[in-house]
């Protein structure tokens, strides 16, 4: 990272977030470069989702700074984050089950006609285009998304994230609800997006997924960063050691949460 001359796409510095007395995120720093996939690993409750929700605007940080392309960014709610091209695919999919794919795709950013009414026809036409790119088998545009399969719903959620020129994509357990074939599909999609120069934070507790897709991994434990490093410099066992024990291997750069050696 020090060797990389580029400015990072995202740099989160010394972020802290507490709920009451519980420190969910404790002085965590993380960065992401264009066209890079950074895996964020840790146990349930390690603080990875909380850290990333600070970036997506769902939580407001208590302290710390966020830089986008080297410029300090003000992110206080999901709308602010979208202004910076930060899009999120949430763990629980975050779709409104009772409306159709096009309405979900455009939720919060509806296309409107000259008279200010909803332009459903244009939205559906656009939705057909995007979904044709992501998931050519998708046909059910008129039905509420509750009628769709897990993979189809996931492709709607991802379509929503990338359709609006996202530069930074956050995927929180994108494959948790999916079968093997659909997981492979999401993997392909991540490679495609990466090739387009989008930076991706991939949050997962499946270490295999992350090793297949990520360039770097950062491990969190008890709200702190244990360390981060390039995938090729570490073994899966070493990363497991980071997750479980907080032991930072020689191939990674230790963070404040690393076990004293």
């Amino acid at each position: 990272m020090d060797a990389n001359p580029q400015t990072p796409l995202v740099e989160m510095k010394d972020i802290s977030l507490a709920f009451g007395g519980l420190k969910a995120v404790d002085d965590a720093s993380i960065d992401l470069f264009p066209g890079e996939v950074v895996g964020l690993l840790g146990h349930n409750g390690a603080g990875k989702s909380c850290l990333i929700k600070v970036l997506s605007g769902a939580y407001k940080r208590d302290s710390g700074h966020i830089y986008i392309n080297g410029q300090e960014a003000t992110i206080n709610n999901p709308r602010d984050a979208k202004q910076y091209g930060i899009e999120t695919v949430y763990q629980a999919l975050a779709l409104a089950d009772n409306v159709d794919a096009a309405s979900n795709l455009y939720l919060g950013r509806e296309l409107r006609t000259r008279w200010g009414t909803l332009d459903d026809a244009s939205m559906e036409a656009e939705a057909r285009k995007v979904m044709g790119r992501l998931n050519p088998n998708f046909r059910r545009f008129k039905e509420p998304v509750i009628a769709l399969s897990g993979g189809q719903r996931q492709s709607v959620a991802i379509a929503r994230a990338i359709h609006f020129n996202a530069r930074i994509l956050i995927m929180d357990e994108p494959t948790a609800a999916l079968g093997p074939a659909e997981t492979a599909q999401v993997g392909e999609l991540i490679k495609q997006l990466k090739a387009e120069g989008i930076g991706i934070f991939l949050i997962s507790h499946d270490i295999h997924d992350v090793f297949d897709l990520a360039d770097r991994v950062t491990v969190m434990k008890n709200g702190q960063i244990v360390g981060s490093g390039r995938v090729q410099d570490m073994t899966k066992d070493e990363v497991l050691g980071m997750i479980i024990l907080g032991k930072c291997p020689p191939g990674a750069i230790p963070g404040p949460g690393a076990m004293a050696s």
């Binding site: 997506s56 769902a58 709610n77 999901p78 709308r79 979208k82 999120t88 949430y90 629980a92 999919l93 975050a94 779709l95 409104a96 089950d97 009772n98 409306v99 309405s103 979900n104 939720l107 919060g108 950013r109 509806e110 409107r112 200010g116 009414t117 909803l118 026809a121 244009s122 559906e124 036409a125 509420p144 929503r160």
Partner: protein, 441 residues
């Protein structure tokens, strides 16, 4: 194997002829069910009155005209209640809002405004209506703000509001009734003079028919532009024909109801018209409250389906968290929905007090229950996210038809309540059953 397969394919085109018809016309089967239930109630009461009294009393122009007038205020509020319930909230205060707004209407028309504008100034009724709507909307917005920003459950907020505003109404009026109200204002309530007569009714019907045809044509054009699948042409013609038939039929019915003999005779005398043999026949036509209901229904449907606000209401009801994460300001939407409900209660208050030509603090008591029942019978799900405006209006007609029919038959008031209660629970029971089956299939 082959025989089983061929029989499966051969039954497929045969068996769902109805389903193919429904798909071609894109008609909502739930709506068909509700209309069927309504028709059953109407025919049932008609037969029952025929058996009991020897003449059909229910399906007469007079009763149907009255039914539309009686339904209008509940139906108007039910369209707002749909959005409240879709947002996973409830509003128990609408009946009390009617009572309070009604007292304000009475006081402004009779005691306050005449002091400044002079008696019989036409501005009086207009101003009093504006004040009534503003107060209704403000009370609703206060409910909404308490729900959205303070985080008190809507049930509690509106239960408190129900007590508070009913008490406030009594406090303003100290139990008196103010009557009569402004003569022009009373026209909002309907009655022979509060109706638009045959000519205007036919004119409106013609406009509505042209509107139906244009809407179908525009919809077809839009689909063609984006190359979406089209309805077959015969289905378009059928929908257009049925729509126009309903409009023209309803108009013929309201026009077949004449002014009562005494009112007509009075009118003839003041205008020096000779009364022909067998009395003067003056068509009543559509009553003004019914027209208000139709306009409200149209506007609310537009709001729910074609505007960003409506989309947000439904999306929030479906998944509040997702809507929030997508950047929807759900709190703001909540306030707006409750304010809209209050505004519609204000409209209903004007209609109800105009109809009685008086203002009383007891007006609208228990209306909230009928309004919620109408919305729920019309297919609105208390789980949120699901409900239609036209469904709520049909639901209001179902409830009012039951009541009006039982009144015609001379049923006890106590018995009427029992029947409405059973129908409410039964309708939701059938609906739940139906939904579960369609979810499986």
């Amino acid at each position: 194997m082959t025989s089983a397969a061929s029989s499966a394919t051969s039954t497929a085109p045969n068996d769902p002829a109805i389903r193919r018809f429904l798909r071609a016309t894109e008609v909502d089967t739930r709506m068909l069910g509700m209309i069927g239930a309504l028709a059953l109630i109407w025919v049932g009461f008609n037969v029952y009155t025929q058996i009991q009294t020897g003449e059909s009393l229910f399906l007469t122009p007079r009763n149907l005209w009255n039914l539309t007038v009686q339904t209008s205020s509940i139906a108007i509020m039910a369209t707002g209640m749909v959005l409240v319930i879709v947002m996973r909230h409830i509003d128990l205060s609408v009946g009390s809002i009617i009572g309070f707004v009604s007292t304000i209407v009475g006081v402004t028309q009779v005691y306050l405004l005449p002091n400044y504008l002079g008696l019989d100034n036409p501005a009086i009724w207009i101003l009093s209506v504006v004040i009534a709507l503003a107060i209704g909307a403000a009370i609703g917005a206060l409910n909404g703000a308490l729900v959205a920003y303070v985080g008190i459950p809507a049930f509690i907020v509106t239960l408190g509001a129900q007590l508070f505003w009913r008490g406030a109404a009594w406090w303003v009026m100290t139990g008196q009734t103010i009557a009569p109200l402004d003569g022009r204002f009373a026209l909002i309530g309907g009655g022979p003079r509060g109706s638009i007569g045959a000519t205007w009714s036919w004119a409106l019907a013609a406009v509505a028919c042209v509107g139906i045809v244009l809407a179908l044509y525009a919809g077809r054009q839009r689909r063609a532009r984006f190359r979406f699948p089209q309805r077959p042409v015969w289905a378009e013609y059928l929908i257009g024909a049925v729509g126009c038939f309903v409009v023209l039929g309803a108009t013929a019915i309201v026009n077949a109801y004449p002014w009562p003999e005494r009112v007509a005779a009075d009118y003839a005398q003041t205008n020096h018209i000779p009364v022909p043999e067998g009395g003067l026949f003056i068509s009543t036509g559509y009553a003004i409250p019914v027209l208000i209901m139709l306009v409200v229904g149209f506007l609310m449907t537009f709001l729910a389906r074609r505007t960003r606000f409506g989309r947000y209401v439904y999306a929030t009801g479906g998944n509040p968290e997702a809507a929030e994460l997508a950047g929807v300001n759900t709190k703001h939407i909540t306030v707006l929905v409750f304010a809209l409900m209050g505004l519609l209660a204000g409209v209903a208050a004007c209609i109800d007090s105009a109809r009685l030509d008086s203002a009383t603090n007891a007006l609208g008591q228990f209306d909230e229950l009928y309004v919620i029942a109408a919305a729920v019978i019309g297919g609105t799900s208390l789980a949120g996210g699901v409900g239609t405006i036209y469904g709520a209006i049909i639901g209001a007609f179902v409830i009012q038809s039951l009541q009006s029919g039982m009144v015609l038959l001379g049923f006890d008031a106590a018995f009427q309540q029992m029947v409405v209660g059973v129908v409410l629970v039964g309708a939701v029971g059938i609906d739940t059953f139906y939904r579960r089956r369609t979810a499986k299939g």
